[in-house]
Amino acid sequence: MKISYYPGCTLKTRAKNLESSALASLKALGVEFEELPRWNCCGAVYSLADDDLIHLIAPVRDLIRVKERGHDTVLTLCSMCYNTLARANELMKSDEEKRYTINTFMDEEPDYAGEVRVLHFLDFIRDEFGFDKLKEKITNPLNGLKVAPYYGCTLLRPKEVAIDSPDRPKLFHQFLEALGASVIDFGSSTTCCGAYQVLNEPEATLTVSHRILMDAVNHGAEAMALTCPLCDYNLGRRQEAMKEKFDFGDFPIYYFTQLLAMALGLPVEESHFELNLDSSTELLKNKNIIKESA
């Protein structure tokens, strides 16, 4: 398996804590990969109109770059990038007419017919690396950390690209269990946080995000792990606004790869916790997962 890593628009800046911890972890696990040269933004959302092919050009171009590189797999960290690239790939595989139109339109590029596999970090760990092998690599288990896995939408819906059951997923649970955490199952783990509606309906988004967090708290979670920079904004950064409206805040939110990096015993700097809420670092110190002397 030859892997191209696709970062996406937010991972070099706001979600540097997601990228840095993930790449350090992959290296620690001995996974070989290369960042895709000349990657472009995937468009973040997949076009849902039958007659709108122009918005498929961006994700398909990225997939062509992977194929050109001689790689068979593209690995994503952001769940929205995963969804957009995976759906564009499915369409190029299955829809002959649209594939023809897109390939003809991009006549300067080699033809593409869905030859590349699109994986998210989580299904890569489950299907390619293996949880058993992962468990062997854990040197700093997350003992006693009660963490709720938040899947969000785009890893699980629609079914064609779901990395696990859209109704009863367990992949993220298994991942956190492998890291030694106490996993808190809660009903809202697949409920939408409001996503890009934060732009248009910030109050509605705040309300639905707060409800998700409260559900996790009511089930005994002391932190939440997630995979998407937009979910991280709605459920993490916007706790500032929740303080005013709901008297709720300082609930630690982590990217799944930050917890992985900690469990692998990697230097704390790789996780860039300064981009998380302050409470996130405090909790890990309290649990002795971040060692004070380090």
Binding site: T13, C153, L230, Y233
Partner: protein, 135 residues
């Protein structure tokens, strides 16, 4: 809210257009309401998705254009994965947005965003929001 069912309220062109853009047949809907029961934005929308389906079947342009539903929809696909009639309601919401956006009527105006808001928002929020709500 009463729905006036009459030939004069029914817009066949709109029905056709939404079917074409979405590739979805809303006539299959039998009004079970699973979509409304699943919608995370239910309390913030003026017309529930089940009712949107009925309005589409009737081709009621006025009621459809007054509903905020497609503009509050976050394309989370929950209604779609749960629909017993396998209707991709998410695509119907996209089609209703596009009917307006394709007349060059933006729903979000990037130039009205405050600089401090732009500084705060992650790129992914703006890229996806502008993709969904601008023409």
């Amino acid at each position: 809210m009463a729905i006036n069912i009459s030939k004069s309220e029914s817009d066949d062109q709109l029905r056709q257009k939404v079917m074409e853009i979405s590739g979805q047949n809303f006539q299959k809907c039998y009004q079970c309401g699973t979509c409304s029961g699943s919608c995370p934005m239910a309390e913030h929308i003026t017309v529930q998705p089940r009712r949107i389906m009925a309005l589409l079947q009737l081709g009621n342009r006025k009621a459809l254009s007054e509903a905020n539903t497609p503009w509050v929809c976050a394309s989370c696909h929950t209604c779609m994965v749960r629909c017993p009639r396998s209707i991709d309601i998410t695509r119907l919401m996209e089609a209703l947005r596009l009917v307006k956006l394709r007349q060059n009527i933006d729903h979000v105006h990037p130039n009205e965003l405050k600089p401090e808001e732009i500084a705060r928002l992650p790129q992914i929020a703006m890229v996806s929001g502008f993709r969904k709500m601008t023409s």
